[in-house]
Symmetry: C2
């Protein structure tokens, strides 16, 4: 019976464990880090001591001594994120990121730190460099629109911090994780065409996001391929927000030959389509079918519930974390995560012409 167990908790260091196991500090360190060159006997004794003392290595000390910090940084745009939080529109992008990111990190003994940085500020370099210097993370997860921000990616590279870019495109370093936005947009059009729609409109998202143009491309390709009406007036520009969706819808419905279906590049814009339709007593889906993008919680509770493309945010973040932790050669192909089209009551057969 030793007296280590009665030591004040939280004060148990590798030293106590080594003493309890009757080995050197190094051996304990090796066991903890699953390093080689440890006899089974020594390993077992150390593991027992660790369990008995409830030892857990200090992440700060590990960072100090070694080269790893066991920290991953998830970077989001400060203004946009705060605005989203304050608006309380039910967007759960951050929650889904945490879900995928935290669980994956935990599985590997890592920790995810969620951080906001100001993209548009001139001192973005200073701000990001500060966070890197303070935390020294082993990797950084970037989300749109940061993912394609050359300043950020290059700064990360300069600091030697690997990054995984969710929704990012080729042309910059780091691992790429995204869904097939082009294919997703095409799928929505196919779904509608399958219901007999021939005049399908599309409300594009904020052009600052690369995925906006991908979706437009997918829409165009599908319209072309399926031989639907390819009237340029059916393509409207939005910015992901409700107001822009409402305005675009009004323009679309004012056309000589208005669309029988509208695909919006965000749920908020799709909700706006629904609102404008209700305002004009246009029944959805009888007179107008509506499809959204993202499949946020709001999509399930809207009236009617929204058919929408599910963005696999959690899975993408989990993938990003895994790549960063396990290391991946940066020249690898992008990791494409499957999306889903959640079909709900906002889409139906085209009205009879």
């Amino acid at each position: 019976m030793n007296d280590f167990a009665v030591k004040p908790p939280g004060k148990i260091t590798i030293r106590e464990v080594a003493a309890a196991a009757g080995v050197s500090l190094q051996t304990v360190s090796r066991v903890i880090n699953k390093g080689p060159n440890v006899s089974d006997k020594a390993r077992r004794r150390v593991e027992e001591a660790v369990a008995a003392l409830g030892y857990s290595p200090s992440i700060a000390a590990r960072r100090m001594g070694g080269s790893k910090s066991y920290l991953l940084l998830a970077l989001n745009d400060r203004d946009r994120t705060i605005e989203t939080w304050q608006l309380r529109e039910g967007t759960d992008w951050v929650d889904q990121m945490l879900l995928g990111g935290m669980l994956t990190c935990a599985e590997h003994g890592y920790r995810l730190i969620f951080e906001l940085v100001d993209t548009h500020s001139d001192n973005i370099e200073r701000e990001l460099a500060g966070a890197l210097a303070a935390l020294r993370p082993d990797g950084v997860i970037l989300t749109p629109p940061h993912s394609d921000n050359a300043t950020i990616v290059r700064l990360l590279d300069k600091h030697g911090v690997p990054c995984a870019r969710i929704g990012g495109w080729e042309g910059l370093g780091g691992s790429l994780i995204r869904m097939d936005d082009l294919e997703a947009a095409a799928r929505t059009v196919e779904h509608l065409a399958g219901h007999g729609h021939r005049r399908v409109a599309f409300i594009a998202g904020d052009p600052e996001y690369r995925l906006s143009e991908e979706r437009v491309a997918g829409y165009r390709a599908a319209v072309e391929r399926l031989g639907l009406d390819r009237d340029p007036e059916l393509l409207e520009q939005g910015d992901f927000g409700f107001e822009s969706g409402a305005a675009a819808t009004r323009r679309l419905l004012a056309l000589d030959r208005p669309p029988t279906a509208i695909v919006a590049s965000s749920d908020q814009m799709a909700l706006a389509v629904l609102a404008v339709a209700r305002e004009r007593d246009l029944m959805v889906p009888d007179a107008l079918s509506v499809v959204g993008f993202d499949d946020t919680p709001i999509a399930r509770t809207s009236v009617p519930p929204l058919t929408a493309v599910s963005q696999p945010v959690s899975a993408m973040t989990a993938c990003a974390a895994r790549l960063l932790i396990e290391g991946s050669d940066s020249a690898a192909l992008p990791h494409i995560i499957n999306f889903e089209l959640a079909v709900r009551a906002s889409t139906g057969p085209a009205p009879r012409g």
Copy 2:
């Protein structure tokens, strides 16, 4: 012209700053920590060097040397949180916590780490102790139902880590931050009584949460005070979830003299009331008024939008962080944060008897 500026970034330590400013490490440390006994001249030179080099102290090293980690830990129940994230019902409790917590931390040079722990597990002590040992946070923020968990609070105390308990009650240590749930429930009843309702029902929440009984007490007190019908059948037990709310509503509507208004202790249960009412072609609010609790995003987009009590989650978390960072005597009174009753279309005049 010195050559510090061209050093590889991220490798700038207090040593570089000291050299650039021509002072000792200690002086730099004092300036960074706003310590006393530094001449204005030295301070200015150090600040200039810090700015010029883009220096930012390593949080790991600060933790190692000193007594502070500049880290605050926000602890949530693992299972419940993950389930909430996966359900995607639009609950933004976590987001609001981050909003209040991260911003307040950032203002003070701290960082918030969001962490999940398994409450119901037997090895909760091991798990929590592990997180404390690994991170060594300067304080911990507890949320319901952890806030009143004696095991957790005592363990924290044993480790000497201050805690701030959101939605916590007296009887255990740490700072207390909460809203007045009793008063909030009473306010909902007053609101309904003001509309002429005399039979107001209440669906209670999960009894594992202390606030559930507070709300019941508030409901009872208001019913008493306002002289409304205080039929015990009007009080139903729920568990915050949709299904429990639906079941309770069915029982309430099956009464000989059903209520003309129902207050539910969560938005999800209130949504269930709405759903059951629609199922029976009971118009809301004409035939039945409904009030929810929490005011999650869903409350605004439901049909009709829900009158609900807004929980000031962000403000409570900000307060908790502030108390932890600035230090507060633990014997202080609880900090009561104001709630609001968001009045929307789900409540209206009582139907004429």
